[in-house]
Symmetry: C2
Subunit: 399 residues, 2 copies
């Protein structure tokens, strides 16, 4: 039968990352492809204790909950954000199924076919897929190591009148970039002046390697809660299975997103939200995050050593200051999508950079994840990867 | 600031049920308004044991999962559906955040502004809200006690070329209706012939009071899995907080819904899905469902007694054969929306019937829920409600 699907489904793309993950679930492949946190340091005992507290609180913990989410957890989220300089109110926080749902709900209430979204390039590919699924045109703003270039942003805001700007200003996926304070301020000033909304995606902000540096969320500049939607998640700082993210921002926008969420799924798992509340209340999450930072830093350094060794003459990567990803660039003739086949044959996987690009993909780039694999696996996987990388004729290019 | 929301947000409506629930959360009001299952019989110990098994299975239980959902739970869902005559395959089952998410994802891949959806009248109001949020026109098919009237359905399929027919054929929300076997077959035959999809919403099918009767899901007729999407949930048979629903149907449709879900939230809570798997494996869910049935039957009978007493000369309601709701109709001049204010003042709440209607609302109808309140609360609440009902001048009308 020829199903009469809605026209916008033509914009659906299967996720390259997801397809690759499927391939690499063969046991012998060491995968640096996904975006998975380190399982070996999951605080499973603490999570279990938190659930026991939920059940001890009685049967009403198993009833339907509010669309907005469990109130005490929203209060805890507020307190957490205040440490980063974002002042909100529990009534103005919506709990979601991961921050992915924030990207989707916000797009749903903002985007109609033909609308424009401005993004970095490369950027989070699942966000690109969402924007396009609503028929939006994604336009990339020119960027350098400091963030979006303000002049180009200004020009594109004036030319396209975008519905919003999407950015991951701290430890970006895929390229690990951190915006400078100056560019954050310029982004905020410009959007504020032009009345353009900003969706600030901050899933990795907690995973900061150098405690002497300060990365102020753009949302912290928006003291009137007028133009910045700020989203983050517990998937990276606690565990992904709880699927709990949140968003705060202008009250009118949050209210409409709440209505959209009510239609979407009534509410997210309230058991998970209650467990997270007890976890945040009774468990030293800050010291757990400190553990995550030190473990990820060590793994990143280990992985980087291999690239640096090969890189002297072949590949270059910038050392990330946090987050979960390293971005690698080879010479211009290299095609990492083609290289992936070779790599998987040798038992290692990465994500080719191309699908992360908005416009012309740089086929000579790829992303590796250092958080998920143990040091032993990183060593073995990197030996394999070095083997693959040095077997192709390439030249260095610095990014 | 004047936010540039997408045009389709103009179709968003705040849920009347939800607004009422907020009002009735004042402690003194006995609410028959919501659609909540009975908390007092939640199998909390068994749910807790199931979670302990998840944690005992190791840290990988806390990692990201598949968009489609936890495979062993999909296998269990398949086995559960086979008892109702629906033969599917785990690859063709998508686990969701409640069946609400099924209604939303299916609408998302099917509906563009101006498309038509055919429904019963009255029907589940949150489904109406979803269809309209995608810009669809909802057209009601004439119905009687047996289900949609086939002649009218045929006429409207030919006239409107609808994207799909939405129906709750067994213990409908709000009016508790059960379709006859003949009408189920006619619906299926007609849609099959005309290539029209059917979304069969079956959240209450398990809560069947009379075990000698058989209600065959429409999906059981669709042996080729060509036109029927079947959705159900564990919210009513286990507990709502786990937020786990599912859908099965044509492979091509399920695949596209899976892509939509990936963009929507990557995946639902995998902890909840794993716990449900252990619960279904080790707990006698059938005997728990038998308990639910007997408890709800007793509560329904108790509530009905009060209406019957008043009804002799004033109100009428049909005895439901299952589900969670009773539908009451008074004389034509009655306005139950106006009456609600009086009722809440006297400490009892119901849902006025009007928002459940597609076209002309019958303002003399209302819905009461009998599952959530204990017998003591039902007695107290019904005394209050009878007081309100008998204080207005009304006349009987049989539905």
């Amino acid at each position: 039968m020829n199903y009469p699907f809605a026209p916008q489904t033509k914009n659906y793309e299967s996720s390259a990352v997801r397809d690759i993950l499927k391939v690499t679930q063969q046991g012998h492949v060491i995968s640096f492809a996904g975006g998975l946190p380190a399982e070996d340091i999951f605080p499973i005992e603490q999570v279990q204790i938190a659930y026991e507290k939920v059940f001890a609180s009685g049967k009403s913990s198993l009833q339907y909950g509010l669309t907005e989410g469990f109130i005490p957890l929203r209060e805890a989220v507020q307190a957490k954000m205040e440490k980063r300089g974002i002042f909100s109110h529990p009534d103005n926080i919506l709990l979601t199924t991961g921050s992915q749902q924030v990207i989707d709900l916000f797009s749903r209430i903002m985007l109609a076919p033909g609308d424009v979204v401005l993004t970095e390039d490369p950027t989070y590919l699942a966000a690109l897929q969402v924007f396009r699924s609503y028929g939006a045109n994604v336009v990339a703003v020119k960027s350098d190591d400091q963030g979006m270039i303000t002049e180009d942003l200004k020009e594109k805001i004036e030319k396209y009148q975008p519905k919003f700007v999407y950015t991951i200003p701290t430890f970006a996926n895929p390229d690990g970039k951190v915006w400078s304070q100056e560019r954050r301020q310029e982004l905020f000033n410009l959007c504020s002046e032009k009345n353009v909304l900003i969706l600030e995606d901050d899933p990795y902000g907690d995973i900061q390697f150098h405690q002497d540096e300060v990365y102020q969320p753009v949302a912290a500049l928006d003291t009137d809660k007028r133009i910045v939607l700020y989203t983050s998640t517990f998937s990276k700082s606690v565990v992904p299975a709880l699927r709990t993210g949140w968003v705060t921002g202008p009250a009118e926008v949050i209210k409409l997103m709440t209505q959209a969420k009510q239609m979407n799924d009534l509410h997210s798992s309230s058991l998970d939200q209650q467990a997270l509340y007890y976890l945040l209340r009774d468990f030293n999450l800050d010291s757990h995050i400190a553990l995550i930072r030190s473990v990820y830093y060590e793994r990143m350094k280990l992985m980087k050593e291999y690239f640096d060794k090969v890189g002297s003459g072949l590949f270059t990567c910038r050392e990330p200051k946090g987050g979960m990803f390293m971005w690698v660039e080879g010479n211009e003739e290299l095609n990492t999508t083609a290289l992936l086949g070779e790599a998987v044959k040798k038992g290692v996987a990465f994500v080719p950079g191309a699908p992360f690009y908005v416009n012309e993909p740089k086929h000579n780039t790829f992303r590796v994840n250092y958080s998920h694999s143990t040091p032993e696996k990183i060593k073995l996987g990197m030996e394999r990867l070095v083997d693959v990388l040095t077997s192709v004729p390439v030249a260095t290019k610095t990014i």
